[in-house]
């Protein structure tokens, strides 16, 4: 075990080794990484004395001696249970490194570039340099600094002006735990030029329950009137620490929706930070977190309104069971010039056991004088009336409870646009709900009902 103050020193050795084998990287990237590491070395990991980390103790990460995960090979067979084979554009990363043999790209329209970040850096580093690290705030967050310091691979998605990408781009980040604690720092860069449209899914999974640390960072740049759907799925193993930051930069009239589904992992921190920089832009931040056992799931939202006439909507639902601990921190900053802002935040939580815990904290900072900002949080248990109502119609108690949980989760699922991704996520949710199994067949039939309705 190492202490928090020793951590930067320990990481210093790893950083030097990593830098030594990354000399082929472009100079600007080496400089960026160096700057980021210097920033991390300066601050170290946050503690609960830091207001942004008040409810989340990071010692499981800071006190563990992680090594950079090495190259690992896995088979198609091992991916099968993950249920992602139906996606035409599937990019698979193993321990943060691209796996060509497990990945496939369907027919993409002209003007779309999807490549591993390492490959893109090697082939056309200028296309990456324009955006990488330009939006993520290294000063604010030690984990973003650490991710940037160890940039090696990840995904690069670039959609040219006016191009519409129909099929989702599904990025699967697989962690393979080793005999000792391992970490990886995947980096995602999504650039949607004006009037383009694209859907990107980031899915974090692990093959096993060993101790790991996935520290990812994503920069999503949506140009004028671009439409981007982003999905974040975290379903890692019992020993996984998953820290992620999604930084969104929105241009004029850009429309971005980001949907998070947190299911698996021991300690999860989910940072979402959109900046509505262009006038008339809209952002939907939709999330569902379901924790059990001793899981800790922290959702930290920072929504910045920087221009007039922008709308933001935050909806996060939490289902907490066992001894789990959930956190929702919803911060909204309305800058001086962002008049006619319409910002809404809702966090609803279901506590299924006496020992489950939720901390929910809205934080509004408003510097403009003509804005509409609302926030609301609820914490509740099962509704006995609803339970009795369902049972009185013949549903067994376990099914009735399951149905009510599904109903609660559906509030989030119903905000998802992509049918294929939504159906996939719905399956993951149904399988994860307490007392699963009974309704899986039923749900798929509801799809049939929907379709029939559309036809009829």
């Amino acid at each position: 075990m190492i202490t928090a103050t020793q951590a930067p020193e320990k990481y210093s050795e790893i950083f030097d080794q990593f830098s030594a084998r990354s000399v082929a990287q472009p100079h600007w990237l080496q400089a960026l990484r160096k700057e980021a590491f210097a920033r991390f070395a300066e601050t170290g990991f946050p503690t609960t004395r830091d207001e942004d980390w008040r409810f989340t103790n990071t010692s499981a990460v800071s006190n563990t001696s992680f090594e950079l995960a090495g190259i690992d090979r896995i088979s198609q067979e091992q991916l099968k249970p993950l249920g992602v084979s139906g996606f035409a554009n599937l990019l698979v990363f193993v321990n943060g490194l691209f796996s060509e043999e497990l990945s496939a790209l369907g027919a993409l329209p002209k003007g779309v570039k999807v490549a591993s970040l390492a490959k893109q850096l090697a082939n056309d580093s200028a296309s990456v340099e324009r955006y990488l690290g330009k939006y993520l705030n290294l000063q604010r967050d030690a984990f973003c600094a650490l991710n940037t310091a160890f940039i090696e691979d990840g995904i690069f998605v670039h959609v040219s002006s006016g191009v519409v990408v129909e099929n989702p781009i599904y990025v699967l980040y697989v962690t393979v735990p080793g005999s000792t604690p391992q970490m990886n720092h995947p980096r995602t860069l999504i650039v949607a030029e004006p009037n383009s449209q694209v859907t990107v899914v980031e899915d974090y999974v692990s093959l096993g329950n060993g101790v790991t640390f996935s520290n990812s960072a994503t920069e999503l740049i949506a140009g004028e009137n671009a439409h981007v759907q982003h999905y974040m799925i975290v379903r890692e193993g019992e020993g996984a620490n998953n820290f992620s930051t999604l930084r969104i930069q929105q241009g004029r009239s850009a429309n971005v929706a980001t949907h998070s589904l947190l299911l698996g992992g021991s300690l999860i921190r989910n940072n979402v930070h959109p900046v509505l920089a262009g006038e008339g832009s809209e952002c939907l931040i939709n999330g569902l977190f379901m924790a059990n056992g001793h899981q800790h799931m922290d959702n930290y939202m920072l929504v910045e309104h920087a221009s007039p006439h922008c709308d933001s909507r935050q909806f996060y639902n939490g289902i907490l069971n066992g001894n789990s601990h959930g956190v929702f921190h919803g911060r909204i900053i309305v800058h001086k010039d962002a008049q006619k802002t319409d910002a809404k935040q809702t966090n609803r939580n279901l506590l299924l056991s006496d020992d489950a815990q939720i901390d929910t904290k809205p934080q509004l900072e408003i510097y403009a004088d003509d804005v509409k900002c609302t926030h609301g949080a609820t914490i509740g248990q099962f509704d006995d009336n609803a339970l009795f109502y369902l049972r009185s119609r013949g549903l067994p108690e376990a099914s009735a409870r399951h149905l009510l949980l599904l109903a609660f989760a559906n509030e989030c699922l119903d905000r998802m646009h992509s049918t294929q991704v939504r159906d996939h996520i719905e399956k993951l949710v149904v399988n994860s709900l307490p007392g699963a199994a009974r309704f899986i067949g039923e749900r798929s039939l509801q799809g049939a009902e929907r379709n029939l309705e559309e036809v009829g």
Binding site: D383, N385, A386, F388, Y389, L390, R391, S392, R393, G394, L395, P396, E397, S399, A400, L403, L404, L406, A407, F408, A409, N410, E411, D414, F439, E442, L445, Q446, A448, E449, R450, L452, E453, G456
Partner: protein
């Protein structure tokens, strides 16, 4: 054989005795109306029949279709053919009416070892019932009762009843809060379900409902006991004389 046999039923809610010895026999095909002033125990009786757990039966017995109803969970009672239309139907956001109702129907069919019904067969069935209750098909895809008006919620209860086809339907103040048009629609739906094998208990505060659904028997419940029973004419008498009349009779009977 009678469908429902209630004998000397005593029940408490939060330690207060509400039902103080109810006796009632309902034969297949009969419609019984239970009337009474507020607080007389009408809704408690309905809730006990639907097996709500917070209602504690302290004495007496209920036999439903030859089985001990008091041994049944709410879901078992439903699967055995008992249906209660709620006085205040519950809103369940996130689950569509169609999904909920098909899950309920299939749960009951499964209990009876019948094949589950798929969406293709279910939709025409539920749509037919909705037409009878003059409910727009759009309600199928709306979350259960969420944002429904009072009248729409009550009609939705009768749609559920029509789909689940119970042996015994208990309508708990289904008429309360309905305007005359909605009342006629609900009554039409209920009357369409009358049959030789289906019995109903109409719990109501107002005689008005009985103009549209004519019962075979009327019982007056006062202070946890049935103090008077008779035919449909009893309801009219009550309407004219008010509940104080029966209370007076009860007082007389006690002396």
């Amino acid at each position: 054989m009678s469908l429902l046999e209630i004998k000397n039923l005593h029940a408490t809610v939060n330690g207060n005795e509400i039902l103080k010895g109810i006796n009632l026999t309902v034969n297949p095909g009969e419609i019984h109306s239970i009337m009474g002033p507020n607080g007389s125990g009408k809704s408690t009786l309905a809730q006990v029949l639907a097996r709500r757990e917070s209602y504690n039966v302290t004495d007496g017995s209920i036999t439903f279709d030859g089985k001990d109803l008091l041994e049944m969970s709410p879901e078992d009672a439903a699967c055995e053919g008992l249906f209660m239309a709620f006085q205040y139907p519950v809103e369940i956001p996130g689950i569509s009416n169609a999904y909920f109702l098909r899950a309920a129907l299939n749960s009951i069919r499964k209990y009876r070892s019948e094949d589950e019904m798929d969406a293709m067969d279910f939709l025409p069935l539920v749509k037919e019932k909705m037409r009878m209750l003059e409910m727009d098909e759009r309600f199928l895809n709306r979350p259960v009762n969420e944002g429904f008006s009072g009248g729409e919620k009550k009609r939705n209860e009768i749609v559920q009843m029509a789909v689940l086809e119970p042996k015994l339907a208990v309508l708990d103040e289904t008429d309360s809060g309905l305007d005359i048009d909605a009342l006629k629609i609900v009554a039409k739906g209920v009357n369409a379900m009358r049959s030789k094998s289906r019995s109903m208990i109409l719990v109501t505060h107002y005689q008005r409902l009985l103009d549209y659904i004519v019962p075979d028997f009327v019982h007056v419940l006062v202070n946890g006991r049935i103090v008077k029973s008779g035919g449909p004419e009893l309801a009219l008498e009550l309407e004219q004389k008010g509940y104080s009349w029966t209370e007076g009779e009860l007082a007389g009977a006690r002396r």
